[in-house]
């Protein structure tokens, strides 16, 4: 950021309506055009965010996603179409193609990668802002560790069903994710989009709110950045703003500067099982799952079988065997990223 003030004539005409908006203006637009943004996840939230950011004219957008386009994505993931499903394109690749066609002035880069403790440094170095479009808490706590450690602003956003919430995090200034949530909620208790469903409109609202905060940060209007948690339910018709708590001095992350997710000490642990087409996922947070509750939620999605020791759910070509301590054996893949993705979607983190 921090570009020279440019004359209006230097700004491409396609942004004319945006620079007419006084608080952005040519100077803000110039900063935006120099900005480098990383988008983690390219699902429902990610496709809306990417589209808005590319149209707004950020300089460089890196999109990181490990999944492939599926038919059930099309209801809300606005960058994808039926041809992408047929071609089984990685989301990052399909998105890059669409976005380049949307605005050739933006340097769009789609990376088919798993964001984890060992890849995050390589994937997120050198960005002015990180946008959260992930679908699980492990990834968000990892993002939080990284962004607090490197003083990179990031914008949290999440939705499920008809409900969503978002708030921006300016490390060192506003509360970080761990000031707000001490730790990840127990899996299997919090609903996920793959178990409770999600409506397109809530995704649009939350992603738009995230991008609005992004535009403030990137155009240099830090004083205008929201200090509140925005909570919206498009079905109930409720919208509220809750004051963000002050930074917690005892916060393990931004207070004590401990980064266990970044060091790989927390979060889930995966191991490809010897000889089997399967990956075992273990949690390190000591939670207990209510297997009956997990069975109830997965019942409508796949074939579920349960005994006193475990639950087996056959979903598409995969089998998830889930245990009460949160561990799971994901059969049908040896790819840890695929297994983690299935775990996030169906068990939750």
């Amino acid at each position: 950021m921090g570009a020279n003030v440019k004359d209006k004539t230097d700004i491409p005409a396609r942004y004319s309506r945006q620079i007419l908006f006084e608080e952005i203006g040519p100077e803000g637009q110039a900063r935006l055009m120099d900005a480098r943004v990383a988008l983690v996840g390219c699902g429902a939230l990610g496709t809306v965010q990417a589209s808005l950011l590319v149209r707004a004219g950020v300089g460089h957008l890196r999109i990181i996603d490990r999944d492939f386009v599926e038919e059930s994505n099309l209801q809300r993931q606005i960058l994808f179409d039926e041809e992408d499903v047929r071609a089984i394109l990685p989301k990052a690749v399909a998105a890059e193609k669409k976005l380049r066609a949307t605005n050739s002035l933006v340097d769009v880069e789609g990376l088919v990668e798993d964001l984890n403790a060992s890849s995050i440094g390589r994937l997120l170095t050198g960005f002015d802002l990180v946008l959260d479009a992930t679908d699980n808490f492990d990834a968000r706590f990892l993002l939080n560790d990284y962004c607090v450690k490197t003083a990179t602003p990031w914008i949290y956003g999440a939705c499920v069903g008809s409900y969503g919430l978002t708030f921006p995090i300016l490390p060192g200034d506003t509360a970080c994710l761990r000031c707000v949530f001490e730790s990840a909620p127990p899996p299997g208790l919090s609903p996920t989009c793959d178990t409770a469903g999600v409506l397109g409109p809530i995704v649009g609202v939350v992603a738009s709110l995230q991008v609005a905060e992004a535009l403030k940060i990137l155009s240099g209007r830090l004083e205008r950045v929201s200090r509140r948690i925005s909570v919206v339910d498009v079905w109930e018709g409720r919208q509220s703003q809750i004051d963000l708590p002050a930074r917690e001095p005892a916060c393990p992350c931004c207070g004590k500067r401990e980064f266990p997710y970044l060091e790989g000490a927390l979060g889930s642990d995966t191991a490809t099982l010897c000889g089997r087409n399967a990956v075992q996922i273990r949690r390190r947070d000591g939670v207990r799952l209510d297997l009956d509750e997990v069975a109830r939620r997965l019942g409508p999605i796949g074939t579920v079988e349960k005994n006193r020791f475990l639950l087996r759910a056959d979903i598409d070509a995969y089998r998830l065997t889930v245990f009460a301590d949160g561990r799971a054996i994901v059969s049908g893949t040896t790819d840890a990223a695929v297994a983690k993705s299935l775990y996030s979607r169906y068990v939750g983190t």
Binding site: L273, C274, G275, L310, T321, F323, R327
Partner: protein
Amino acid sequence: MIYLDNAATSFPKPEPVYRGMEDFVRASGANPGRGGHRRAVEAEAMINDTRRLLARLLGCARPERIVFGHNATDGLNMAIKGVLRQGDHAITSVLEHNSVSRPLNRIEKDGVITLTRLPATADHLIDPDEVARAFRNNTRLVALTHASNVTGTIQPIAAIGRIARERDALLLVDAAQSAGVVPIDFDNDRVDLLAFTGHKGLLGPTGTGGLVVGERVTVRPWREGGTGGDSTRPVQPEEFPHRLEGGTPNVFGIAGLREGARVLLKRGVETVLPHERGLIRVFLTSLKRPERLSWYGADRVIADRNGEGRVGLVSTNVAGFAPAEVGAILDEQFDIAVRPGLHCAPYAHQHLGTFPQGTVRLSVGILTTADDMRQAAVALDEITAS
């Protein structure tokens, strides 16, 4: 926790092993080297003392032929890659761990050797007659496990040693599962190379192990470097053990291994196997419904022959459960540590018909108790009843 994964590493270790390592680290922690200061001499003496103890345990008359390395894998690589030459033929078996199979497969793929992989009998044994039949004019090496880490069966190495010697070939024995458990007579059984690990039956820490090299064998060093003396020579010295021991050894680990060897010599290695067999028998007889488990012959051997010819491990499977599921249930619900999967021995599981899921392996050690085995039986009964 009930620890039934001793075939992976023995745990816990006998108390003297922990103490021996700590005492050595605190009191003497020097780099061994001949002709050095007092502490360096002490370190050298400790390592040589460990060689003497291991030589007694393994039936080898010349302690200096015991070469230290990281583990059995290290010893096996030293042997296989240091002995076999272009155009040689080697004989191995389906019962091998990947630490034998992979180095052999590699040099076979590279076109250095030809390889015969012998099948096992229905009793999971390698038939010496089959070995004899597999010989060719250019057979240089027979590489076999002493005790399979999947089936637990002890192989007839003395008979195979005789065959190899008659045909002027070398016998390499992988003693990862047998050293410290099965009495070994390196010299009289006509073994030429024996790879051992320190952290299983020998009760020492991980990162210890090596190779016993018989007098008939010339092994090319695959790691060259400092030996703590004789620095004037431009290349690795010829004499043992320095020929194969370039670099500072794992002195602290060897200090622990020394204590493990002492515990075994004091107790008598010959008492270990009966103890392990007894534990496996307790486990089998405590099960209410052993017929609900697949045993791959182990139940019959334990019932009819008291487990004779096997080390203290059993591979099993529970109908309706994947091995990994049984392992996870035992860990999660019963705090029992076992090892599901292929145990790094894919050919052995193909032989058993358990590839690629594998089996659940329970393996005992000298500190395992009969009560541990009864509890494991209760846990498996609960799983089969569910």
